[in-house]
Symmetry: C2
């Protein structure tokens, strides 16, 4: 496997999995039959400019570079402006209604953006249900989303 391919894989992994430390990368790659050491991962991270973000719930998480997250936020903002219908919260849940056919894309973006308030999210055709970490998170997340409109 070439370095470029590995870099691409790391970019995907960091969006899909919760990577807390460089050894996590090593372990995941090992499971896929790619043997690589922490030293190489360290260099990869530097080249890809991945960042280690402190999570307030304890722990850390590697993430995409700010620049790329900015692009994700931009997409999110655009989609919200285009397809947003309504938003409501109840306890730790946030429910967003969109124009038909847009919820899945919205859900994917919300997940990719990895907002700390968000525990998980499920999307239908015109509805995204976001499960936040707690009631406060839900409120914060709602404000965040509304600011995009």
């Amino acid at each position: 496997m070439k370095k470029k391919e590995r870099h691409q894989l790391l970019r995907e992994l960091v969006q899909q999995e919760v990577i807390q430390k460089q050894e996590d990368f090593v372990d995941i790659l090992k499971k896929r039959g790619i043997d690589i050491t922490q030293a190489t991962i360290s260099r990869d991270i530097k080249e890809l400019q991945l960042i280690k973000v402190p999570a307030q719930e304890g722990g850390y998480q590697y993430n995409l570079p700010p620049e790329m997250n900015y692009n994700i936020s931009k997409k999110l903002a655009r989609l919200m402006k285009d397809a947003f219908v309504s938003i409501d919260t109840q306890k730790e849940f946030v429910l967003i209604k969109t124009l038909p056919g847009n919820a899945f894309a919205l859900g994917t973006l919300i997940e990719t953006a990895k907002y700390q308030e968000v525990f998980g999210c499920i999307s239908g055709d015109d509805t995204v249900l976001i499960i936040c970490r707690d009631e406060d998170s839900a409120e914060r997340f709602q404000r965040r989303i509304i600011s995009f409109i």
Copy 2:
């Protein structure tokens, strides 16, 4: 000095100075008569969610959390849309013309955003001169800026 004050100070420092490691914080605070250890800085960084961004020119730099940088980019995008007149590059220099009175604000935002392409920048009333790290950086930076319009 209270923890809250120190946190505020760290937020300012991270925008003004190039902080490569936690000991840099310790040293800077010491010069200001604030005695604090690396352990405390580590906790502060976690609470403030500061991130360590790899710079492609070697080295690392602590920075504000992605969320806050997103806001800076949003301001930059808005100002560009409002006040942009023209842009041109020559070697490693980028020259941006703005409506009168807007260049200084633009320059400040560009500096705060800490784009890696940028070495430094000088602002007048309707002109910002950005010195990039090299010719390639200047081109990349120009594209970046244009994407805001």
